[in-house]
């Protein structure tokens, strides 16, 4: 397994949809990706397919398509076998250190051990990620000098 990159993050389809349709802490977690150009959102097409389907089912198809287009602009695209779990496989293909998910089955100690036997990643609830993900502490791993702070508008 490749060493995971702490500045590469996967948000599962429910988290991407919640960013759009619920907001709150989930949107704040995704803002940490949107407002730093050196933090990458990793996502496969199957993951975006799932997100678009969920948004279309609970909101409307036009909004789902526009949202998908926006994520497509933001993401680093990866590929994986169709039968794999889209979030975990995206993390494996993109060497992402973090997966954000609401799915309890992917969280907890036992699930973490099982997942890390296949993929070097950590699955977190978006609220936990927002509390623990410290961009200033991460910066020396990816850059030089003092942490420059956010460098992009998260609403642009």
């Amino acid at each position: 397994m490749a060493e995971p990159n702490p500045a590469r993050i996967v948000a599962d389809a429910d988290v991407l949809a919640a960013d759009l349709l619920v907001g709150g802490d989930t949107r704040a977690a995704l803002d940490s990706i949107r407002c730093h150009s050196w933090v990458d959102l990793i996502a496969s097409d199957p993951l975006l397919d799932d997100c678009e389907a969920v948004v279309a089912a609970l909101a409307d198809a036009d909004l789902a398509a526009a949202h998908r287009e926006k994520i497509d602009d933001l993401r680093v695209r990866v590929d994986h076998p169709a039968e794999d779990h889209p979030a975990l496989a995206s993390a494996a293909a993109g060497d992402a250190a973090h997966v954000l998910s609401f799915d309890d089955r992917l969280q907890g100690v036992a699930a973490g051990v099982a997942i890390r036997s296949h993929v070097a990643t950590s699955v977190k609830h978006p609220d936990a990620f927002r509390r623990l993900f410290d961009l200033e502490r991460l910066w020396p791993v990816v850059g030089e000098g003092e942490y420059p702070g956010p460098d992009t508008d998260p609403r642009s």
Partner: protein, 32 residues
Amino acid sequence: MTDSWRELFDRADDHDVAIDALQDALAERRDG
């Protein structure tokens, strides 16, 4: 030209969706 995130979030304000509903919809799609 794509919408800005601000425009998307404004459009999404028209919909009242709970996280439980998102999880259920995703589980139904993936698990059948």
